[in-house]
Point group: D3
Chain length 154, copies 6
């Protein structure tokens, strides 16, 4: 059976931390769906089109990677696309506590799903989309924090 993983996120913007997890997971799966959550309650910083185009251009040479927008429960989306794995990166124990909660609830909602965690590269242990946005808002340079070649400006 095809091994499909969903990597859910808002990618607002994608960081080098996300990118490192995704690339290291490629050999493990047959397909990885970068699933951009389109949540009516959360107002993103970057428009959806921008986030889609960043991801698509970043992984244009990776045939296993697909970019999809979804709304609703992540496990419902997994069921629809026949994915049995959710992929996540772990930086800190605070991350872990948060991810465990989500992971166990997802399993309670859909018993066939398994969350697969990889460690973040310690060089990016302090990196998150919200920190990248903070630096941008304050006029800083984020080129070392987003994947090479991405042009992230306000």
């Amino acid at each position: 059976m095809e091994k499909v993983a969903v990597f859910p996120g808002s990618f607002d913007p994608i960081t080098r931390g996300h990118d490192s997890v995704v690339r290291r997971a490629i050999p493990l799966f047959d397909r990885i769906i970068l699933a951009i959550g389109d949540n009516p309650d959360k107002k993103p910083w970057f428009p959806l089109e921008k986030r889609i185009s960043w991801l698509e251009s970043l992984y244009k040479d990776e045939p296993k990677i697909q970019v999809v927008v979804y709304s609703g429960l992540t496990v419902e989306f997994c069921r629809q696309v026949n994915a049995k794995y959710i992929l996540r990166g772990l930086r800190t124990s605070a991350d872990f506590e948060f991810e465990r909660t989500i992971g166990l609830m997802n399993k309670a909602l859909y018993d066939e799903i398994e969350t697969v965690f990889l460690l973040c590269d310690p060089a990016y242990a302090a990196l998150s989309s919200s920190i990248v946005r903070d630096i941008l808002k304050n006029g800083g340079d984020v080129s070392n924090f987003v994947p090479e070649g991405m042009n992230v400006r306000i």
Copy 2:
């Protein structure tokens, strides 16, 4: 002296995790007050009347349990109802860090109060009111996460 415990919360909605803590605490106290905080700053998801009626119907056969709405400092409410104990459940170490802060401040404000913690049932370790609301917002089924017989819909 009567042993009175206050279990403060917004119960928005009450979960199986809350219910398990409350029921296991019944033998320990003479009275447990389920104290619904009516906080003008926090907009609840379910109306106050709904939350009161859920709690009252859930514990209608438990003479030791009372449902009361309060506002202001929890310790002031405890003083008014002559409660010397605050009852809380602990799921994770993130919970603990949060609850310790609240518990120590409550003690600093009212030296006679003692916070009493029970462990949450590990089956509900990932459960919280906010996760239940998230599932509801996304159209999921929460009947396994709220006490049996409760009809929780948007």
Copy 3:
């Protein structure tokens, strides 16, 4: 039914942290058994007789408190003495992680047992029997760390 709590420990030696938890728990229970674990694998620093006599003299005016030596599983001891509660103090989230493991296993072994946690006084947040022993080994003065009047020397 009589509410009996067991406070298990090696009390090697008892600290001000332990003492603060025990004294604050007295109003909550009808009886508290200070249960000195006599574990053949762990070599204590102070002889059993010394530890018994410290506890007995410390609580000689507290009719609710009993000092008992036990071996074997803590939950088996609880069953024998008809205790439905295990009493523990929590200092840090590291404590919590450890105590949760023990508490959940105890419940798995004996479903009627409930572990009841109180917060340690923050003034003693860094205090433990092993730190008291370390200070003693290095010739330091521990009189501020053990209950007043206890004469703890090597």
Copy 4:
């Protein structure tokens, strides 16, 4: 070279916890700048003028302490005032996880900066500006939580 530390915060209001960290750090540095972040996104509870005047009056006899308002990235401010150190207090491991993220990002943005942490006095381990504001909102008395002599009311 002059050793300059920046202690950034919103001081909304300053607590006994902050004050304890600042005073213990005085001997370590030649100058400590209490840097009040003026962040357009975060609406403070107390007006900027009030927060400035509290800090200035509190440290009027400490020639090493300066009160400055800044906006933008903290590390940019440090560069401008020639500060090589950021001073922070640590209460809990949750604090640590948060501060490590900030500290590592600051270092990634400005390699010459070093964050220097002191432990908070355990007596103030549960204290924060947001808890002080919560108590105030609920009509409680905060005089034990803010530095002596400060008149903090709504």
Copy 5:
């Protein structure tokens, strides 16, 4: 390329927690090697032969699972058997902190290795080999903690 994972451990004894992680990982890999570390410094409780025979009998119907004894560095063993993945389960944030350290060191020693984490079933969140041994030493019954059909006695 064949996807080979190593699940290293002392399995002294294997618990239901281990078993749950292994079985959920089977669909993800082409082969999983249960690698029993034979460490001259750590004296195991159960003889190596016993631990091998438990694992072999438990997974005799799982063609993807192999039982191998190794000594030396785990990453060296991975290199020899051509495994690019190390499989681990995560129960608590204390686990995570420990596993991250090991995982990052393994990566520092062998850049091609990736540690893949699954969440432990919360029902076994408090379970470990050392707790099983403790219960055994104290004469308790461990049949609910080890995989069904295993006969674990002292």
Copy 6:
């Protein structure tokens, strides 16, 4: 007054993590004493002479750094050498919980002492002397984990 810091440890062996903390702390203090604890209870892996000679050769060009062997309580040693600061690095929240306990006890024993923490370089977040020893015992190469030029072999 001269600002003297003690960096206590067993340095068995010193790692790149230690070295990074020490070197970043040099500008902050007038003198840093690398204090090798000679603890009769802990059997070190490398002989004391070896550990002294590593430290001395590593910092031979740093006039602010001194290498001293001590036994007994760290705070007593600080008092003798007139040091008001203890220097420590923080890698993880597990580290923090441990260091806070030690730091608060040290302050309880000697009120004039202040523990000053720096963050470890995330590149060395998983590094410790005990991991270096483990790799050595298993025949691995540790040259990337100890300061350049050090010849660490069994």
